[in-house]
Symmetry: C2
Subunit: 245 residues, 2 copies
Amino acid sequence: MTYCLALRLEDGLVFLSDTRTNAGVDNVSTYRKLHVLRPGPDRLFVIQSAGSLATTQQVLDQLALELSSGEPTPLRDARALHEVALHIGQLSLAVADEHRTALQAVGADPTASLIVGGQIGDETPDVLLVYPEGNYIRASDEKPFLQIGESKYGKHQLDIAVHPSVDLETATKIALSSMLSTARANLSVGPPYDLALYRPGAFDVDEARIDEHSPYLGEILEVWHRIVLEAIAELPPVPPHTFND
Amino acid sequence: MTYCLALRLEDGLVFLSDTRTNAGVDNVSTYRKLHVLRPGPDRLFVIQSAGSLATTQQVLDQLALELSSGEPTPLRDARALHEVALHIGQLSLAVADEHRTALQAVGADPTASLIVGGQIGDETPDVLLVYPEGNYIRASDEKPFLQIGESKYGKHQLDIAVHPSVDLETATKIALSSMLSTARANLSVGPPYDLALYRPGAFDVDEARIDEHSPYLGEILEVWHRIVLEAIAELPPVPPHTFND
């Protein structure tokens, strides 16, 4: 499994992905699931992936080929981010279809879910979730985040804390707390974690990899566990009159 | 959907269930999913249910019939809680089998998952999760809680905070925070919430229903949201040197 999330805020975009992949419990590896494409000076795309690793890699290889060859590609030519999302969605669907029969014969799923975010020219930066079927949805002001993969364990703090006006530093903390909740609850999600921050008009990202043994990861885990316990202690007890004796 | 959880602690047992049921989004109702059976002075059982409401009700009706008739039943005769769990599991499986063909024809699932907890005589109080197939697992000292239904959204605080030595008041707060996280993230889980506390040797429970519009529910929701936000703010930011420029 996998957990990737993307936040769309007034100050910019936050992307966070884990790196754990597994094909059965005895085949666990670390693969990057957050990829940055810079097809030109007026555009930058971040792609996050969940689902079939093979499908994802074939899609990314195809996109790299489009960029390295001189041929026309929506990556370079699209005037809007949703055109890029549709192009990547069509690629993802085609790759999954190509391998569907062989994979389904062994009970495997060829599909991938993707998040495509970034900016083209003067457009407002945005994030889109591309379904395995090739269509997409956007984040909204009411729900300014998207998740793919193991999305339930870390959804609560996103529901409570993410608003479009949250600053990038706070948004990063929210995203990390969501990731920690998920990784603690589900073995198929784990460090290192890849973080990318995008500011409007930058056409570049600040990237960080938070390693499993980094002092910072140890610190946020310790602080997070301590304050969750404190938060629970602070809850008021059930009033005695609520009990029927 | 549904969310029920049960905690097994040195001080006793905590049971918490939501009450929302739905058969499609336009058929939403409130039903009790936490039931207390008192078959004799030396035994008390709490049953929590998730899955098919019809199956659950038929199982409970059958158990009530066993108790009201004079006939032998493991509810009265069992010497150990797991015998009661197996009996209820066999009933649940039989009821599901009875309706399986008709329900599967319309794409519905006849199965139910159950938590059976309580105490018989001098046994240590315990909680068991009864699968739709009729078998069961126990809670353990390493994982002293069981969940049925929509179990992912509220698992994180259980992972962090539940230990066998937690007192009943704190355990109740942990359970409520887990319920609030779940209900916020998933519309199919909602108030009122039924709470039952069991102390070893009591052979009776303290029961409370926390209503949707109760001041207490409003208070814990307000406190919980505030302290989750404070907790996130307290997390250390990503150190600048972590970013590769």
